[in-house]
């Protein structure tokens, strides 16, 4: 029912477009620093772990780059970064909308004759679905770059081995799998968080509970859909 109201015809398209652009900045651009930091560090960590695990002389050292690329493109960037975004963006959305609910701002929108669900939630979903793939693409690049820095500086592999590894046996179809997951997760994070925020009743305590529920349920659904999509795309 809520989703029906969210996706019903916008009352004034220009206002919705303005809101979507605002949300792209609010949800997406402001998340770039945390994504950048985590991606570089995780790329480095994955590289060290891969190098540590490869102790057989039969496995070539370019496997370090290969493993880092596969881990980052298939799981770290699309799933783990989205779990982190569920915490940052999800709690932000739930608490923002929840606070608007308890301070009667949503009632004010309704009384003005505005579809509050559409006005508040649709731009967040559209903004996230649009900007998340770009964020994750940046995360992938920075993760692999972080792996390169750590791998070469620690002596785990040479620059040539790492660069050869990240290009070895590359299947571009995996990007299709990863970015499909990202779009689904963007929808889950924003819609689930908005649902909990929109249905908040009570006071500040309930806003906190909504925010917690938004993060918990978004995270569980992200993992569940990660499993389902992995099974669909890769288990063939």
């Amino acid at each position: 029912m809520l989703l029906y109201r969210v996706f019903s015809k916008p009352q004034k398209l220009s206002i919705y477009i303005r809101q979507i652009i605002f949300e792209i900045n609010n949800i997406g651009i402001t998340s770039l620093p945390i994504i950048a930091i985590i991606s570089v560090f995780m790329g480095g960590i994955i590289t060290i772990q891969a190098a540590h695990a490869i102790d057989s002389p039969l496995v070539p050292l370019y496997a370090v780059g290969f493993t880092t690329r596969e881990s980052i493109i298939l799981e770290f960037s699309p799933t783990i970064v989205c779990l982190i975004l569920a915490g940052k963006v999800g709690s932000n959305i739930a608490s923002e909308i929840g606070a608007m609910r308890i301070t009667e701002q949503i009632d004010a929108l309704e009384i003005m004759g505005i579809n509050s669900a559409g006005y508040l939630i649709f731009p967040k979903i559209a903004g996230a679905v649009f900007i998340f793939p770009f964020l994750i693409a940046i995360s992938m690049f920075l993760g692999i770059f972080g792996g390169y820095l750590m791998g070469v500086s620690s002596g785990a592999c040479t620059s040539y081995q790492y660069l050869f590894g990240i290009q070895a046996f590359f299947d571009p179809g995996k990007f299709y799998y990863s970015f499909t997951k990202v779009v689904v997760f963007a929808f889950i994070i924003t819609s689930v968080s908005a649902y909990f925020g929109y249905n908040t009743s009570g006071g500040a305590l309930e806003v906190g509970k909504s925010s917690t529920n938004a993060v918990v349920y978004s995270s569980i659904l992200i993992l569940l859909f990660s499993l389902i999509l992995t099974n669909i795309f890769l288990n063939t």
Partner: protein, 252 residues
Amino acid sequence: MIEIKNINKTFGDRHVVKDVSFKFYPGKTNLMIGESGCGKTTLVKLMVGLHEVDSGEVLFDGQNFPKLSQVEKQDIRKKIGMLFQGGALFDSQTLEENVMFPLDMFTELSKEEKLERVNFCLEKVQLVGKNKLYPAELSGGMKKRAALARAIANNPKYLFCDEPNSGLDPKTSIVIDNLIKDLTEEFNITTVIITHDMNSVMEIGENIMFIHKGENYWTGDKTQILKTTNKELFDFVFASEFMKQVLSATNK
């Protein structure tokens, strides 16, 4: 004109609005008074469709609001302005953006025309020059006035005010009361005010309904209220020492 007929509402086993009927006239300050928790706010929320009525009619110039389609309801809501108890200003927007919001959503005015209208409304509520302030930067009285400016921005035909002077000092309360009264008369708005403040009642009460335990116990105006023989209303009106002194002075 707004007319409510035999409105009933229950929440679980609590019957909070019991068969209430009343007429709210345009150009007059129509007051709903009663103790806290007597059902005043619920009744207003029923009138504007934030809650659904169990039975009864809410007639906005003859149109029964609860029975209208969503589109028809939205058309009526575009003619409604509402001043919430806490103001309900949008935190992320400046005062100017708050007041301009209904104009952005429902009019095709140019930016200059909208700004002109915003400044007109802010002037009406004595907030000229405060355009760029955020709600967090406003005092309680300024928030109420700002919310009133937003409520009248789109030339509403119906204005609902939920305890417009709660939490305000007596002087600011009178300013707000008189603002609402002046706007009501100037633009012939059907204004519904919820209050339990007897100062407001004596200041602007032209058409009053007293609600007690969810029922309409008494109707009249501010001159009749001082002569009431209704026990519940009498206890409500003359609860304070000040009103008791008013009563004894009137009887002398």
